[in-house]
Each structure stands twice: as C-alpha cells, then as structure tokens.
C-alpha cells in the first residue's frame, strides 16, 4: 500500500463509518458496529504510519492549491503520528463504550449521535495529519461544528445554552485570533507549511513574536487556557462518551496538539528560546494549572471536577510548549498520550457509575466502591496515572516536564508542578476514598451495563503496562524535536 493511500484511507474511514451508520440506521446493532470497525481500520492505519515515521518514511499527499503556494495537503509529522494513534486506538474502546452507555442511559437520537461522533474523529485525524496550518485550521473548525450537535444532544434549555457557549467561544476565538494569526504568518513568510525547526526564524519580526504567541494560544480555544476555558465545563452536559473521547482526547488534544505543532513546526523552539517570547505564557499556564486544580476541589459533580482537572492537565502541555526546551517539549508531546489514557479512563468510569447507579455527585458515592469494584479499580489506576505515580505511564511525562523546567531554570515552575500533583491526589482520589471508607445510607438500585465497565478497565491497565514500554512512544517523540 502506498503511503499516500494510507493517509486517504485513514481520513476517509470515519466518514464511511458515519455513512454506513446512517444507511443502517434501523438496525441498531449493525449501526453501532461500524464505529468499532472504523476504529479498528483507522487504528491499523495509524499504527502503520506510526511505524513508518519511526523508519523515516514520508507520508504526504497534496490535493490542490488553495492560494499562493498554500496547498490542500496532508503530511504526517512525528507529533501527528502520535496524536492519530491515540485518537484512533481510543475510538475503538469508546465505540464499544458508547453502545453500552447510550442504550443504558436511554438516550434519544442515537443515529445522529454516532454519525457526528465519527465525523468528529475524522476531523481529529485530519488535524493530526494536516500538512500546513490552513488545512489544520479547516479541520479545526469542522471539529468544532461536528461536536456542536453532540454537546447539545439532549436538546433541552441547558444543553442548548451550553452548546451556544461552546460554539461562540471556540469559533469566536478562532476567527478573531487564530485565523488572523495564520494570515499574519503567511504574509510575513509566504508559506504555512510545517517544517522541522520552524519557518519563522529570520522571517518574522522578533519583537512581535510574543503577540503572535498570544494570538495563537488564545485563538486555539480548544487548548482551554484560562480565561478561555469556560466552554469545557459547559460541554459536560453532553453524554459521557462525548466527554470521554472528545473532551478528554480528541477535541482538547486537538487544541494542545495544534499549539504544539505551531511551536515546533512553525515558530521553531530555537527561535522561541532566543527571543524568550513565550516566557510570559509559562506563568499563565502555571496560573491555569493551579487555579483550575483549586476549582476542581470545590466541584461536587464528578464530571465537572474531571473537566477542571482536564483544563489543568492541558496547561501542562502548554507549559511544556512555552518552555520550548527539548526535554519540556518531549514531556509535552508525551503528555498527550499519557493524559489521554488516564483521563478517558476516569470519564469512562464517571459514565459507568452514572449508567449503573445513576450517581453524578462525588458526595453520593458513599460505599459504592464495594458495589462497583471493577469500575473503582479502573478509576484508581487512571487517577494514579494522572497524578504521576510510578509505575504508571503518567509519571514519565511529568518527569520530563519537571526536568524541562529545571533545564530552563524555572525552579518555581518545577515546584508548582509538584504542588499541583498534591492537589491532584486530593481531588482525584477523594471519590475513591469516599467510595471505600464510608458506608452508603440508602439502597442503590444497580443496572447492569457490562459494555461500560470493560473499556475503562482496559485503558486503566494500559496506563500501568505502557509505563514499561514508554520508549516505544518516546522514540517518535524525540526523533523530531531536534533543537
């Protein structure tokens, strides 16, 4: 199979799975199976590309020219290969989970849900493999628009206003800051292609680089840095599979991925280190990490708590990008994988608890640990990974980030990362502690939904297993970030 064909196959498979889901909309089992099949196909493609990138193969395909030397083109970067692997592999599990959740919770409009879910994955993969900044922007917008129906899925007043907030923040920031920033880069350099080492150096006025970085980080609203984070907690009205795959993996990771890509392949870490234009962003990211951790503690709703935890964890990646040293960038890229695995586990568990026991609040979890042991087991694994305890995969990325901040002599930042881990322990493990120590007052009626239980167990265990195979990913991560 030729390399360009692989790209087309990977990008188009989710669209076909959306199409087939629509065609088979009257047969529920058949309809839902296309998500799993599509997940398997894209996963195999992503894996092949991932290995290809390790062997220095080139994956590129150009369709047509949009305007002056800016093509509609896909080209897989090392970062992109990581992101696509994460998104596609978790899509398989999320599809299985979706079946259990949507039927268990008795949601309506399941066909529409499955279709837009697949389209969102399509957009995420296209973002991962986009060859220049404009193509990335196009699919960034498609991702926003395709997740809007998922956020507003319940179609009541609450979800409608959440959907509006979601759309207005994400589209608004992208049109006000991100697109003008892209135009600016194009006007100064005449190109938008991703290149190792960046395209801005010697081309872009260094004194305005801070402004450009600001436009990018606030324009890429999906990265959810404060104060552009409000859409993420609002989006939690969506059914849990959306929160799990999209708002812990695909959408938010697309945001930080876009920012990382801009830093690594457009701005160039070297240029950034010379000018120190992103040092202010280090402090904003630190602020976001601390502030959202503290807000997370106050939240009793489990999904809201996880949402604020996500905001905090996303800023780890922004922090790594802003530090721009090789270790920090390594940590940031690796954190895309580790946080995705950990957070999808937690969201899966939150959804599973809701479907089986109809509990949404942390304080109501009393004694549930004994009744839902598998779910709580998986949750604990995921939480420990995010906290960064060895031997869980999350400890690697945190290690690299701390090393990176020491490398740049930001000792305070290293301390903040440590404190934030302590806060993580508190707010992520509190549900477990409540679940196992206190006894429940009333009787809780449990409904069985086994399809929602096994996916988190698998992802939770992989958090543990991949700790020992971290080099497998790190090869790709460090292969490209050459400074």
């Amino acid at each position: 199979m030729s390399n360009s064909f692989l790209i087309i196959l990977g990008i188009i498979t989710p669209l076909f799975s959306a199409l087939f889901s629509y065609v088979c909309r009257y047969n529920n089992n058949l309809r839902d199976s296309f998500g799993i099949i599509g997940g398997l196909v894209t996963f195999l493609v992503s894996l092949k590309i991932f290995h290809g990138i390790q062997n220095n193969e080139i994956f590129q395909i150009t369709f047509f020219t949009l305007f002056d030397e800016v093509d509609f083109t896909f080209k897989v970067t090392a970062l992109g290969s990581i992101f696509s692997l994460v998104a596609s592999s978790l899509w398989i599990l999320a599809s299985i989970y979706t079946i259990g959740y949507m039927r268990g919770a008795g949601e309506k409009n399941q066909t529409r849900f499955v279709i837009f879910y697949s389209i969102a994955i399509h957009a995420a993969l296209a973002i991962a493999w986009s060859g220049n900044l404009l193509v990335l922007f196009i699919f960034y917008e498609i991702l926003t628009f395709s997740t809007f129906p998922l956020v507003g899925h319940k179609q009541n007043a609450e979800s409608q206003s959440a959907g509006r907030l979601y759309l207005s923040i994400l589209v608004g920031t992208s049109l006000i800051f991100f697109l003008p920033a892209i135009f600016w880069i194009w006007l100064e350099t005449g190109t938008l292609d991703f290149q190792d080492g960046g395209i801005l150096i010697n081309q872009f006025p260094a004194e305005y680089l801070s402004l450009l970085i600001a436009m990018l980080v606030f324009g890429i609203g999906k990265a959810a840095i404060m104060p552009i984070h409000r859409w993420l907690p609002a989006a939690m009205v969506a059914p849990t599979p959306v929160s799990a795959l999209l708002h812990a993996v695909a959408v938010v990771k697309a945001g930080v991925f876009s920012f990382l890509v801009v830093i690594v392949y457009i701005v160039g870490p070297e240029f950034l280190l010379q000018t120190k234009s992103s040092d202010w962003l280090v402090w904003l990211a630190c602020f976001t990490i601390m502030a959202s951790s503290i807000i997370a503690i106050t939240k009793d709703d489990l999904k809201a708590r996880l949402a604020y935890s996500t905001i905090s964890q996303l800023s780890y990646i922004i922090l790594g990008a802003a530090l721009a040293s090789s270790l920090a960038l390594k940590g940031a890229s690796f954190h895309i994988i580790t946080h995705a695995l950990g957070k999808i586990t937690l969201f899966f568990c939150a959804g599973a608890i809701y479907v089986t026991a109809h509990i949404k609040k942390v304080s109501e979890l009393k004694g549930m640990g004994f009744k839902l042991p598998l779910i709580f087991f998986a949750y604990t694994l995921g939480a420990l990974s995010i906290i960064g305890v060895p031997p869980f995969i999350g400890s690697w990325s945190k290690f690299y980030l701390i090393m990176g901040s020491i490398e740049r002599e930001f000792i305070v930042v290293a301390m903040i990362l440590g404190i934030s881990s302590l806060l993580n322990i508190y707010y992520l493990l509190q549900p477990v502690v409540i679940g196992f120590t206190q006894t429940s007052r009333g009787k809780v009626k449990l409904t069985k939904a086994p399809l929602t239980v096994w996916p988190p167990v698998i992802t939770g265990l992989s958090c543990l297993i991949f700790f020992f195979y971290a080099n497998y990913f790190l090869n790709n991560v460090s292969g490209v970030i050459v400074i």
């Binding site: 047509f64 949009l66 305007f67 509609f72 404009l134 922007f137 196009i138 917008e141 129906p149 507003g152 179609q155 409608q160 959907g163 509006r164 759309l167 207005s168 589209v171 608004g172 049109l175 006000i176 800051f177 697109l179 003008p180 135009f183 600016w184 006007l187």
Partner: protein, 498 residues
Amino acid sequence: MFNIFLDDAAALVVVLPLLISAIIAFIPSKIWPWIISLVTLVLHLVLSLHLLKEISISGLIIYEFGNWEPPWGISFKIDGVNIGLQLLFSIFVLISTFYSRKIFLSEIDSRDSGKAYSLWLLAIGSLNGIILTNDIFNLFVFLEISALASISLIALGAGQNRKALLAAFNYLIIGAIGATFYVIGVGFAYAMTGTLNMNDLVIQLAQYSDGQLAIFAGMSFMLIGLMVKAAIFPVHIWLPPAYSYAPSAVSTLLAALATKTILYFFVRLLYEVFIIYPSYLSLFLDFVLYPLSLLAIFIGTLIAIYQDDIKKLLAFSSIAQIGYITLAFSLKDHSGITSGFIHIFNHALIKGGLFMAVGYFAILQKDRVTLTSLKGFGYKYPITSFALLICGLSLIGLPLTNGFISKLYLFQALYTNQMYFSIALVAISSALAVAYFWKIVEQMWFSEIKFKSEKEDAYIYLPIWIITVSVIVFGIYSSTIIEFSNLSADYLISGYQN
C-alpha cells in the same frame, strides 16, 4: 447575419432586454413572459461571452452610439475593469430568472406575470447599462430606470405584505434624493468642463489643475448621490425594508447585483476621473469612506444579530458586507482595489444564494420567514437547507468557501497598508457574523420540533445549488475571480498612473 448581431454586442446587452421588456408587458400569459425572458438572457450571455472574447484580443472596446464620436455622443466602454462584472451579471441574471418563475407564480397575481417580467428585464437592462456606460449623464438615466423598475418590482410584494408599498415609497423618495444629488453634481461638472464623457472629463478637468470649488462641490454631490444609491452607511436606510418586503425573486436580483453595479461605477469614478485631484480623493477616502466603512461593518453586523426576520437580517448583513467592499476600495492601492472586486464577485454569489434559499422557504410556508418559523426546516427541506448552510458558512468566511478568499485578500490589503485596527475590527465582525448566522442554523437543525422531509421543487433548488456549488468551487479554485479582479485593478491603477 449573426455577425451583425455580434458587432453591436456592447449595445445589445443593454438594448435587448429593454426592447423585449416593452414587448412582453402585453403578453397575457403565465408562462410565455418567463420563456421569452429566459431566451433573451441566454442571448445576453452569448453576447457577454463574445465581449469577453473581443476584450481578450483588443483589451478595450469603445462603442459609439449612432457613430457620434465620444465628446458629443454617448459611448459605452468595455475594458478589463468591467468585463468580469459583465460576465458575472449575465450568468447570475440567467440563473435568477430561471429561479424566479415559481416564486413569482406564488407571490404575485398570475395575471401580472407579463408586467413583472417586463419590469424584471427593464431592471436587468438598465443595471447592465450602469456597468457599461462611459457617460456620466447616461449613467443618471440608467440609475433612474433601474430605480423605477426596482421600485415597481418591490411594490409587487404588496400582495404578500402591505408594508412593501411603504418600502417602495421610501426607496422612491430616498433614491430620488440620491439621484438628484448625483445629477446636480453632473450639472456642476458639465458647467465647468462642457463634457459628460468620462474620458473627456478627465482631460477637461486637468485644466483646473489646482482644482476649483465648483468642481469639488460637483464631485461631492456626485459621490454622495452614488453613496445613497449604493446603500453605504449611513445613507443605507432604504435598503433593508426594500430588500425584505420585495418578492423573493426580486430581493435576490437586487441584493446580488443592484448595489454591486453602482459600487462598481462609484469606484470607477473615483479612480478613473477624480484621481486627477489626489488631495481631494484622499480626503474623501480617508476621512469619509474609510470611517463610514468601518461603521457600516460594525453596526450592520450588530443590527443583524438582533433581527428576527430573516430577510431583514440578510439585508443588514448586506450593509456590513458593502462596508467590507468600500473599506477595500478606500485603500488607494492595487491590493485594496483587487480585494474590493473579489468581494463584489463573491458576495454577489453568497447573498444571491442566501436570498434564493430564504425566498423558497417564504413561499413554502406562505408567510414571512422568521427565526421561529424556521424550526426544524433542516429536516423538513434538507436540500435547500443544506445550500443555505454552505452559503452561510461562506458568509462567515470559513476556508474552502469563496468568502474565505475575500477575507484573505482583504486582510492582505489591510496588512500592506498597515491598518491593524481595521484588521482587528474585521476579524471581530466576522466572528459576530457567526452569531447571527448560527441562530438560523440552530433553529433549523437543533430545535425540538422534528419533521419528515418533504418534497422540494427541483426548478427552485437547482438554481440554488448552482450558486452554492459555485460558492465552493470559487473557494477552492479561486484563481478565476482573483485574475478578473486583478485585471480590474490593473486597469484602474494604470489610469491612476497616467
């Protein structure tokens, strides 16, 4: 035999619709006026294509009526500046005429069909005259014919809503004031120079190299008159009611082409004639047109957000979009004029498509289209709704649509002129455009009410989709429009340098 026709192509594109219009007014049939109009406009397109061929060979056609030489006789001029617009005009009127039949049948008394198409062709012929004429007084004549034809067409909407009469009357009065201003200006110019021909006017005006108060007064009168006609903020007030109460087919024609042709003449007057007084020109552009454009962009968008009536919403969005065009034209350089022309083309397509789709909804539900009445239409009429969605995304300016190309070049032009404040404002207003457009989408697809899909009329959705596909095609293969606009700017700027 056919060659005789083609030799006079420049005159015939205007004269043919005017002649046929006189004939079909008396045909008491429902369908024949439409067929005759359609045939006429196919011929019109053939003539326009022939003109394009001629231009690509010779670069300039001056057509002298009755062989009277220019300073005395009336002449038409076709060159790189207007050939692109002429083609767009020809193609768009053909499509919208095809679209108009079912709309007219359900919105106006069928006995009036002949009169409606007579006025329709009258408007088309006179608007085309505005594109081609090289004579400032002749322009006034065409302005008046087109205004009267449009006003009568708007008044035909009275069968649906009596407010159409008021809108038409408003347009009549305000339009007449605009035309009067313009003709007073022409009077001044004629008194000073003794000529009405635009090329000659440039030569004659050059003798007053320091400028004279009378000439500046005349120029100001002409420009203000044209601003009223082109609905440039704040003299736009006739436009929203006129567009929104006119029969839907008429709104389509007017929104897509009427103001565009006048804007085209406006910019030609600025950069071909008034350019010989650079200080006056830059005074007007920097202190009148530029701030007014920014206000138009911002206020037009803001008002559009608070509209409940969809046609009104689109009309106010037109005010903002005209603001983008005049903003580009106020930049005084090649990149600005190019981007202005690009947006004239692109916006004509986008707004035409939007008005067509909304017009179809209006006759489907036999009522005015408001936000609440659109509930569930995405499921009820999926084909038309999807076209509306694409045109709307293009209005916002997302990539892969032609609206994006407009925005790209506008940004580029503003950037080369270092107008960072305007860049910020344009970026913000395009984000605000999401607000008013998404309200529509939300009602159409994401409200509680669900419908089974109903049959849609291919005669109506076909032209809508032709426009919609062109919106995407010109977003991806943008070079055609960019080349035509570049050509227009080249011609205008070369006049600027001589």
